[in-house]
């Protein structure tokens, strides 16, 4: 376990900024309970500083996880956001999209979001921007990128894709074996 290097930090922040934009400052500067980013194996964890200190006494090969896992670095050095990061992303999300109850299950099975399933969405979403998908009861279901801007999406066919899925909470069941090791 170690802090991120400058290079790594940049990659991670760029990715996060896709979804939460300037709100990233809330993640970095939490005065009451300072949090830190930690790299363990190829995974990035976001965790309270106190917890990170305690975790320091656990040997590297025995430390399986700490705090919240945001995602992992791929072999090519890119950063891939995991569904476990949804806690924080949904909290600070810039663009939001709500799906109707009949769209919940299709999305949780790993499908993209169709026009017909959209209950409401933020007004100002541009094309290819990161967004968080909620159920109508404001339960975060996953995240993705917009296929069209909000204005374009208004005139789409009901079967057209509005947002591409990148992560959904159904992965807890589908990818349990690969997601956490």
């Amino acid at each position: 376990m170690r802090p991120l290097t400058e290079e790594e930090t940049k990659v991670v922040f760029e990715k996060l900024a896709n979804y939460i934009g300037r709100n990233i400052s809330f993640l970095v500067n939490n005065k009451e309970d300072p949090h830190v980013f930690r790299l363990q194996k190829d995974r990035v964890y976001y965790v309270s500083e106190n917890v990170a200190k305690f975790a320091g006494s656990v040997a590297r090969q025995n430390l399986m996880s700490l705090g919240t896992c945001l995602g992992k670095f791929t072999k090519t050095g890119k950063f891939r956001l995991h569904i476990t990061a949804l806690e924080y992303i949904s909290q600070y999300a810039k663009y939001k999209l709500w799906v109707k109850p009949n769209g919940e299950m299709p999305f949780l099975y790993g499908n993209n979001v169709l026009k017909a399933h959209i209950g409401k969405m933020s007004e100002d979403i541009p094309e290819h921007a990161g967004l968080v998908i909620y159920s109508m009861a404001d339960v975060p279901l996953g995240f993705g990128v917009s296929a069209r801007s909000t204005t374009e999406a208004r005139n789409l066919q009901p079967t057209a894709i509005v947002a591409y899925r990148q992560g959904d909470i159904g992965e807890y069941l589908r990818d349990e074996d690969t997601l956490f090791t």
Binding site: S48, F54, V58, N62, M64, A137, V139, P140, L141, E176
Partner: protein, 608 residues
């Protein structure tokens, strides 16, 4: 045919007979007449006169069947039945008085008449009477008849029960020949079951019910054998579990192990409230209700139209599927905010996430599991439920406190034989051997000592260790706790703070445990409908040198091993003999004795 015919056909009596019977007949007649006048309801009662005969024959013929019937209905509340019967009897006693007398008379009458055709005449007789009355109130009459029949049936049944009681020393145990025959055939489960219940009955009132010349152990052996055939346990395990309970409770326990416990979920208070969650699930077609008063986060699921482990709420981490018994150790642990807590055997994370939720994501929770594959599900649950204050490690738990110590609270839900969760995993019935009950407690002892050493005795709010297992075996519970109390005098058992549960055993089959062991709590499937479970809560009073120990799992294993090897060997160092010194002592006491007897010890030629 009426009374006239009867009169006609009676054989001419002798003079004495004539006089004697004539009187009776007269009295009977008058009474009969009265009875008819009084009410039609009484008439059918005359049928009771032949019924005792019927019953008695039935009793002798169906003796076995009856017993079986009894067994087939083990849940019949005999008291209630008796009460009902009693009331029936009381009702009938008054009004039947006449009728019984009547019946008696009738019997006598018939006997004296000695005519075969005379007997059916009674029914005809009654028919006649009925016909007379039918015209006016046939419906009421027939209903009353039905009632009477019912009552009679009840009485008959009652009588059967009663006839069983005075003949208690029923032969329950099979003879060797019968056993051989049984062994050659596939087991007849109903017979085995019947016999089990019979034996339990006998064992409960052994002095009264036992067969002459049979010992208690013979009954117990047969019962254990039957339990093995009926429930499919190994003889070893059956005996081990049987010894925990009284015979009838043991049967209840074994039966409860055949039934699955209800599905329960725990609301994740980090993300949802129980009422909201219940509402959402009900809308999805789930039939549920709160588990009980002792928990505010548990819901019991009866049936569901959707898979309960794949709803959007589940995936969003609003609840976790968790056995009700798993709430108990965490509730006993009672984690407080901003503490540092260790869960030594955490996977799959039900308890860890509960701890985290109770701490409202403050402080720090170390979740350790020795099995790397199982940490996967642990991490998944931690993330799904949104626990942010956790550190997941993969150590042999005995490595603590070497890795990190000084925790405010430690939860040790020890790996165990699983004798409390046979309903979940029936493999336990055959897989567990005697060896397991030596090896598993051996590990548990080391783990518990490590848990105790990992706690900070000076913690302001904590200093608590909770030890739990999902086993009911004493070896894994009270014995381990007792061992820890002996080995670590700096801990005390304290009340678990749980409202339900039975106190732990302070003595078991000749083993005496520390009296405070009764503060531990036991849970059985047949009493609380939760998995069999055990919870003990320690408070660490002050620190010890062991807390500083840098011993890892290997060192602890070696220490435990050498300790085991040492055990039972009498060492030479407890005393040594010096025969010269002893000689002097013997002499003085000898002299003193002589003095006491009035003999001068210094005199020569003392005769002993």
């Amino acid at each position: 045919m009426g009374r006239k015919a009867k009169d006609k056909q009676s054989a001419p009596p002798s003079y004495e007979e004539f006089h004697g019977i004539q009187k009776e007949r007269n009295s009977k007649r008058s009474r009969r007449a009265k009875a008819i006048e009084n009410s039609a309801s009484k008439k059918p009662k005359k049928e009771t006169s032949p019924s005792p005969k019927k019953k008695s024959t039935k009793v002798t013929r169906d003796n076995l069947d009856i017993e079986e019937d009894d067994q087939d209905l083990p849940h019949v509340d005999l008291e209630e039945l008796n009460a009902a019967k009693k009331s029936l009897f009381e009702d009938s006693a008054e009004e039947d008085d006449d009728d019984f007398q009547d019946a008696l008379d009738a019997d006598e009458f018939v006997d004296s008449d000695e005519d075969e055709r005379e007997k059916p005449m009674f029914s005809d007789d009654e028919d006649d009477d009925l016909e007379e009355l039918n015209a006016t109130n046939m419906e009421a009459l027939s209903r009353k008849l039905d009632e009477e029949q019912e009552l009679e049936a009840l009485e008959a049944e009652e009588e059967l029960v009663q006839t069983n009681v005075p003949e208690p020393r029923a032969i329950v145990l099979p003879t060797p020949e019968e056993k051989e025959l049984e062994a050659s055939q596939p087991p007849d489960l109903t017979v085995v079951r019947t016999r089990m219940i019979e034996i339990v009955k006998v064992l409960e009132k052994f002095k009264i019910l036992a067969q002459e010349g049979k010992s208690r152990s013979q009954y117990v052996d047969q019962l254990l054998e039957d339990i093995c055939t009926y429930f499919g346990y190994t003889p070893f395990l059956a005996e081990k579990l049987f010894n925990l309970f009284s015979p009838s409770e043991a049967i209840e326990f074994f039966e409860a192990n055949e039934i699955a416990r209800p599905v329960t979920v725990r609301t994740n208070t980090l993300k949802a409230r129980r009422r909201d969650l219940a509402q959402k699930l009900v809308n999805k077609g789930v039939n549920l209700q709160p588990i009980g008063k002792w928990t505010k986060v548990g819901l019991q699921i009866f049936d569901s139209q959707v898979p309960i482990g794949a709803t959007p709420e589940y995936l969003a981490g609003h609840y976790i599927l968790q056995a009700a018994s798993s709430f108990l150790p965490v509730m006993a642990l009672d984690p407080q905010e901003n503490e540092r807590i260790l869960d030594m055997a955490a996977a799959p994370g039900g308890k860890t996430t509960f701890i985290s939720a109770m701490m409202k994501n403050t402080g720090c929770v170390f979740a350790n599991d020795s099995n790397k594959a199982r940490t996967k599900s642990l991490i998944a649950n931690i993330h799904r439920l949104g626990c942010r204050n956790t550190v997941v490690s993969n150590y042999d738990a005995r490595e603590f406190p070497k890795v990190i110590g000084g925790f405010d609270r430690v939860l040790l839900d020890a790996p165990c034989s699983g004798t409390g969760v046979i309903a979940k995993d029936s493999n336990v019935k055959v897989a567990r051997t005697e060896k397991d009950f030596i090896q598993i407690p051996y590990l548990q002892r080391q783990l518990l000592l490590s848990a105790i050493d990992s706690v900070n005795a000076n913690s302001r709010s904590g200093g608590i260790i909770v030890y739990s297992t999902c086993s009911v075996a004493v070896e894994e519970n009270e014995a381990v706790v007792n061992y820890a109390l002996k080995k670590r005098p700096n801990v005390r058992l304290v009340d678990t703070g749980l409202t339900i549960g039975k106190p732990g055993f302070t003595s078991y089959r000749g083993m005496k445990y520390h009296p405070s062991v009764n503060l531990t709590r036991r849970y059985y499937p047949h009493t609380y409908n939760v998995d069999g479970f055990f919870v003990a809560k320690f408070k660490k009073i002050h620190s010890s040198i062991h807390d500083e120990s840098k011993a890892g799992a290997k060192e602890k294993e070696a220490a435990a091993r050498s300790e085991g090897a040492e055990k039972g060997i009498i060492k030479d160092d407890f005393a040594h003999f010096d025969s010269d010194e002893d000689k002097e002592l013997i002499e003085t006491s000898f002299k003193r004795n002589l003095k006491r007897r009035g003999i001068n010890p210094n005199a020569k030629n003392i005769q002993l």
